[in-house]
């Protein structure tokens, strides 16, 4: 067997898998989104042939996307606001944590790193379950805050509060943010800091002119790693709120997907979301490809 043919033997099973379960799956999503409805059962009928595509579902979603007033637009807007706040929290807390671990932790580095990875091994659902217990009306959060008169007795943190959902998103995803930022900062040569200080820069200007620019790629990566799942997140919302007034795009897609007759709308909305995220991601992908080339050189 020639080496080339042997490589093909190694590659073919994986290639078939990817074509079948990534390409064909995403095409099915598109075929449903651009397909029609069964006139009797009202279930979605996929349009496999591009010549039979209809824009009815996509159009239906587009109507809800009327700026500032459409139902879907309002949900989209809320999603973006929640995610931006959660991301800001991730950066404000996660960046210093990653920075300390990578640059100043010294002999504690291994221990801290293990503690930072631990939440990734404890499942997401258990971590949410933990907060549902703490935030329930008779829970420990109220046990502390009610005597302090911060909140009224039996305050319902889980009854559809934006603050609960946003904090929950932040709590849930921040460990995934810290690790890539740490990885980027760990590669960072601390001699640059000494050089900057030797050249007369103060702590602040060293941070803004040396450390921050060097961690840009890591911050971007961390942001993408947590923003993507947040856009598809419906379970954090479901556990911590369960009320449509705090619903996000993920919640909407999931709700549509649960009823047979609305599955085509779910597919169309998922296509819209993917296009929206692709546009957001484009500058990032380009800059990370550039960074990759620079490293390669």
């Amino acid at each position: 067997m020639t080496p080339r043919r042997y490589l093909l033997v190694l590659g073919v099973p994986g290639l078939i898998w990817v074509v079948l379960f990534v390409t064909l799956a995403l095409y099915s999503l598109l075929a449903i989104a651009l397909g029609g409805l069964d006139p009797l059962l009202l279930t979605p009928v996929p349009a496999w042939n591009p010549l039979e595509w209809s824009t009815a579902n996509v159009h239906e979603v587009a109507q809800g996307l009327q700026p500032f007033s459409g139902n879907t637009w309002i949900v989209f807007q809320r999603t973006c606001i929640y995610i931006l706040i959660a991301l800001a929290g991730c950066i404000l807390i996660g960046y210093p944590v990653a920075y300390f671990t990578a640059v100043h932790a010294g002999r504690w580095r291994g221990t801290i790193l293990a503690l930072l990875v631990l939440p990734l091994l404890v499942s997401y659902m258990l971590r949410m379950l933990a907060w549902v217990g703490l935030l329930s009306p008779q829970g420990w959060v109220n046990a502390v805050l009610v005597p302090l008169h911060v909140v009224p007795a039996n305050y319902g943190w889980l009854d559809g509060r934006a603050i609960t959902v946003v904090s929950g998103l932040m709590y849930g995803w921040i460990p995934y943010f810290i690790i890539p930022v740490y990885a980027a900062l760990a590669r960072f040569d601390t001699r640059y800091l000494e050089a900057s200080r030797d050249l007369g820069a103060g702590t602040g200007s060293t941070f803004f002119h040396v450390t921050l620019p060097m961690s840009r790629q890591g911050l971007l990566a961390g942001t993408v790693v947590v923003a993507l799942p947040m856009f598809g997140d419906f379970f954090t919302n479901g556990l911590l709120s369960g009320v449509s007034s705090t619903g996000m795009v993920g919640t909407l897609i999931n709700t549509y997907a649960e009823s047979q007759t609305n599955q085509a709308v779910a597919a169309a909305l998922a296509v819209w979301l993917t296009v929206f995220l692709a546009i957001l991601l484009l500058p990032y992908l380009r800059s990370s490809a550039r960074a990759g080339r620079e490293v390669g050189r």
């Binding site: 258990l126 217990g133 008779q138 690790i179 997140d233």
Partner: protein, 294 residues
């Protein structure tokens, strides 16, 4: 100079405080949830004294089929996901990194697509694929769940393995072949031993992600017999479940932690034998690998 030094040390104290508070905030709730599995009462939020009733006896997590079935199903899915994803991903990675041809680039893009779309979109896509196309073998239920998880985990394995492969010069395999090894032999005797750390890291990540996975596992599920631990937590948390739910969640978390720790110890052993020094940086491969893919 002195004032700057003092300033710097204050800054460092602040940093230490943030790190300590963050770690407390991230882990204390989980520890409290674990504590409540020893609650004497039925509440998962009010402490009513210590008891072992949710761990042993008729109401315990080990005696109620709903919990034991979910644990068994989650473990089954994780084992199948590891067994399928690791060989599939490693051999595909070898192809992608060594193949000089037009298919390599689009293929590696496609394989990493699951990393750049929200999991919900992939779950929905797989759901439509399985329900609208009559595939053999793959249906909603265990087979669909395994297929979905493998598709989701495959890019992580590819990123880990390709990272390792790019540090192995192609010269090694070529030398083996010049010395008379057949391509399968050069693969088995040269590449696989060099890839051992990446294979191990892939297996740990695959196991942890599979145990944790909710969205795809939920969308590909069929009857209650295909309910995994995260699915059960999701449906039972807001209901009137007893602290046995906390016990079940703890069992699953401890299983993952133990397996990851054993895997990491093995990894260190392999790394030391080879004297690679970058062992700590590869430990949190889980999320780092996601970053590498983008």
């Amino acid at each position: 100079m002195r004032s700057r030094l003092r300033h710097a040390s204050w800054g460092k104290i602040g940093l230490v405080a943030i790190v300590v508070l963050y770690i407390l905030w991230s882990l204390a709730p989980v520890a409290i949830a674990f504590l409540f599995s020893f609650n004497a009462g039925y509440s998962r939020s009010t402490w009513q004294g210590f008891s072992m009733q949710w761990w042993t006896g008729p109401k315990s997590v080990f005696n109620l089929p709903i919990y034991t079935d979910a644990i068994r199903h989650s473990l089954l899915l994780a084992v199948l996901a590891v067994i399928i994803t690791v060989p599939l991903g490693v051999s595909l990675s070898i192809f992608l990194s060594r193949w000089r041809g037009i298919t390599a680039r689009p293929a590696s893009f496609l394989a990493t697509v699951p990393l750049v779309v929200p999991e919900l979109v992939l779950a929905l896509a797989l759901f439509f694929l399985v329900t609208k196309v009559n595939l053999p073998i793959v249906t909603l239920g265990t087979s669909g769940q395994v297929v979905g998880q493998v598709t989701f985990i495959l890019p992580l394995v590819i990123v880990i393995t390709i990272g390792r492969l790019s540090s192995i010069p192609t010269g090694y395999e070529e030398a083996a072949q010049d010395l008379g090894a057949s391509p399968p032999q050069s693969f088995r005797l040269v590449l696989v031993p060099l890839l051992q750390p990446a294979i191990l890291a892939s297996a740990i990540v695959a196991f942890a992600v599979s145990i944790d996975d909710f969205v795809i596992t939920q969308y590909m599920s069929s009857t209650s017999s295909t309910q995994s631990v995260p699915m059960l937590i999701y449906t039972a948390t807001r209901g009137g479940a007893t602290p046995a739910l906390n016990a079940m969640a703890t069992i699953m978390a401890l299983t993952t932690i133990v397996i990851a720790a054993v895997g990491f110890a093995l990894y260190r052993l392999l790394a030391r034998r080879e004297q690679i020094t970058d062992a700590p940086a590869t430990a949190p491969a889980l999320a780092v690998s996601r970053e590498g893919a983008l």
